[in-house]
């Protein structure tokens, strides 16, 4: 696995209030990986599209489901990564992912798995390119501040849950 010597213990989070559904995140991913998007988006309501980045789960079900141990978890760096060379395209990871993040349409007959752009020092391209700053690459401290996974807070009535 390529490494630039930077510990990745950060996560991608979406600030719903700022997302305009332009899919620049997907375009950034496609432009890097020759047309293969490793971030997905979900239509929510009539006009709203929300990016679905990989959560890099603490206990990744995609890795557990992989029959050839192609998907692995790097505990130190917090990344769930995939060696595309050995992937046979069985789609087990796609079925196992509880968030539907892995694309059901195989490209080059292999599953596409986000690696948080570990080849790039500035972090994932999707977050770097996000036009409105909705998609952010934040560390654990910032996640606590944003209460990621605990509450959905929004200024827009559409998203208000709490």
């Amino acid at each position: 696995m390529a490494s630039v010597g930077v510990k990745i213990k950060k996560r991608l989070v979406v600030r719903l209030d700022y997302c305009i559904g332009c899919r620049a995140c997907e375009a950034a991913c496609r432009s890097r990986f020759k047309g293969e998007a490793r971030i997905r988006y979900a239509p929510v309501g009539e006009t709203v599209l929300v990016p679905l980045p990989c959560r890099h789960c603490a206990e990744p079900l995609c890795a557990a489901a992989c029959p050839f141990e192609v998907i692995k978890k790097d505990e130190e760096r917090g990344i769930v990564y995939q060696s595309s060379v050995h992937c046979v395209g069985c789609k087990s990871c796609i079925l196992a992912c509880p968030f539907g993040v892995l694309d059901k349409d195989l490209l080059r007959r292999i599953a596409q798995k986000c690696n948080l752009c570990e080849d790039r020092e500035g972090g994932p391209r999707c977050a770097a390119s996000c036009p409105t700053g909705a998609l952010q690459f934040v560390d654990e401290e910032e996640m606590k501040e944003l209460m990621v996974g605990k509450r959905v807070l929004s200024r827009l009535p559409f998203w208000r849950r709490v």
């Binding site: 332009c22 500035g122 770097a128």
Partner: protein
């Protein structure tokens, strides 16, 4: 091997974003320049396509004659022979997007050197109408965006300039008094941010602008009830918008205009600016390019071509030859044709197609909506391409002739035309019947060049889907005066009943929208199209 990051201004729209490109020895990659204004590394899908454009497998690297490869020597010899066979008045020179300011200066000089007055702007997108600048209107700055507490967006501003959306959204959330009004015939994501969303009938946004301006300044004498009837927008909604936009509140009027969505580009631009003037707000018109006027309107060129008075046509610029496929049958009447292109045409075209470098591979200068910008080459030109200067120099020395980007318009001139313009449009019918529908153009940034999104989808209103007996993922055929195409159906109530929408970044979708001539300006326009839609099996 990792080389240095090359920096330039993005050419895909007029927001003036700064891009970085790295060549790693194998492929070009985007780099996001977090410390560089105005976009601080943020890049929309159009900007993200820079490396795709540079590296695209369909880039043209040799001249084509009737679709077959020829050498540059033969192409130049043919051009000279054709030139000798015609009179100067039988030559037309057209320039479009893809030719920078210096290139357009050269084209002007080239037309002068050939002795023809048939110099025409071939960029027909409605956003080019933002080059008309109404005297007295303050151009918006980035600070105005941040300080705005009463924002009016007309057209799909967020899709046209996603990077500018950041400032607009931040201003929207800045305090509880901050208000946003959106006017658009399609309900897009930006409508979700609006306090008032106004959805007029197709192509009538400019009438709503006139109505709101008329409510702010009754001296304009706008027939508000007439506007309400024609646009389908209740008077109450316009009154609420006028209240939000009243003078004395920091605000902003921002416009966008997409092909197949705006019926009157000139009035769309002018009414947005009149409203900005009356509401005492700065104005910004977002668009993909700003291409200055030629010596005559595109409509006049169409007349000359139809009359058989043009024998040799030069068309410079454009991602594809002649830019608009709906014009192909018309332009085929011209005996000798020379076009430049960066991509290989989808189908063989009669005449010469010459490969040129893309805008990402050129040096130049231009204007973004926020001020002057410079362009630096992000990559070497594709092998086999020749610059426009090389091509025109085959006819002798050509001198660059500068011109004005903007065309100034005085309020008095416009207000004199207002009653006539309004009565003309208030009198036209807005509905279709039978299986005829209005087809609207949607220009989402993700659809750029079909690199990221194929745009083979049509959005239908649920009532129309029921009428056509189609469901999500079924197939329909769409036929207009100029083309026919099959689409996959998506059913969403984001358009009004009787209206459908398709993406118009895709070259083949554009062919569904006929090019019309604006009687007032003599320029071409591409309004919403009347189409037939019927169900087909896959």
């Amino acid at each position: 091997m990792m080389s240095e990051v090359k920096r330039s201004t993005c050419v895909m729209c007029r927001n003036g974003c700064q891009l970085g490109i790295v060549f790693d020895g194998y492929q070009y990659r985007m780099e996001y320049l977090a410390a560089v204004a105005p976009n601080n590394g943020r890049t929309c899908p159009r900007g993200n396509s820079a490396n795709v454009v540079i590296d695209h497998p369909k880039r043209l690297g040799y001249p084509l004659l009737d679709g077959k490869e020829i050498t540059w020597e033969k192409a130049f010899a043919l051009m000279k022979n054709w030139h000798e066979a015609v009179k100067p008045e039988e030559i037309a020179v057209v320039y479009s997007r893809g030719a920078g300011a210096a290139d357009i200066g050269l084209v002007r000089g080239f037309a002068a050197a050939l002795g023809t007055d048939n110099l025409v702007c071939g960029y027909l997108e409605p956003d080019n109408a933002f080059r008309y600048r109404l005297a007295g209107v303050k151009p918006a700055t980035l600070d105005d965006l941040a300080a705005s507490r009463a924002t009016l967006l007309v057209g799909d501003v967020f899709s046209t300039s996603p990077v500018a959306a950041k400032g607009i959204i931040e201003a929207r959330y800045a305090d509880k008094q901050s208000r946003m009004v959106v006017i658009d015939s399609i309900k897009t994501r930006q409508a979700g941010f609006a306090h008032i969303f106004i959805q007029p009938k197709p192509g009538t946004e400019f009438l709503v602008l006139a109505g709101i301006a008329g409510l702010i300044d009754p001296k304009l004498k706008v027939d508000i009830d007439g506007v309400a009837t024609r646009t389908g927008v209740p008077r109450r909604q316009m009154e609420e918008a006028a209240k939000i936009l009243k003078p004395g509140v920091n605000g902003l009027v921002a416009g966008a205009a997409s092909l197949g969505r705006v019926s009157e580009p000139y009035w769309h631009s002018i009414f947005a600016q009149i409203l900005a003037l009356k509401a005492e707000k700065p104005f910004v018109g977002f668009g993909e390019a700003l291409v200055p006027d030629g010596k005559m309107g595109f409509g006049k060129l169409q007349e000359l071509v139809a009359a058989g008075r043009i024998k040799l046509l030069f068309w410079f610029g454009g991602l594809h030859p002649y830019s608009y496929p709906e014009l192909f049958p018309e332009l085929n009447r011209v005996e000798f044709r020379v076009a430049t292109s960066i991509f290989r045409p989808a189908k063989p075209l009669p005449g010469l197609v010459l490969p040129v470098p893309s805008e990402f591979e050129k040096t130049g200068r231009g204007e973004s909506v926020w001020g002057e910008v410079k362009f630096e080459p992000l990559a070497k030109p594709v092998s086999g391409t020749r610059t426009l200067a090389d091509i025109v120099s085959q006819f002798g020395a050509v001198k660059e002739m500068a011109g004005e980007s903007y065309q100034r318009v005085k309020l008095e001139e416009v207000t004199a035309q207002l009653p006539q313009a309004l009565s003309k449009h208030l009198g036209t019918a807005a509905t279709t019947e039978g299986n005829l529908y209005w087809l609207l153009g949607r220009k989402e940034a993700i659809g750029v060049g079909g690199f990221f999104e194929p745009e083979d989808e049509i959005i239908l209103h649920p009532a129309d889907a029921q009428k056509l007996a189609v469901r999500e993922d079924d197939f329909v055929k769409v036929k207009s005066k100029t083309g026919e195409r099959q689409f996959c159906v998506k059913v969403l109530p984001v358009v009004s009943p009787g209206t459908a929408t398709v993406g118009v970044n895709a070259h083949q979708n554009r062919a569904l929208f006929p090019v019309e001539v604006d009687a007032g300006t003599g320029e071409a326009k591409i309004p919403p199209a009347k189409v037939e839609i019927w169900r087909v099996s896959a």
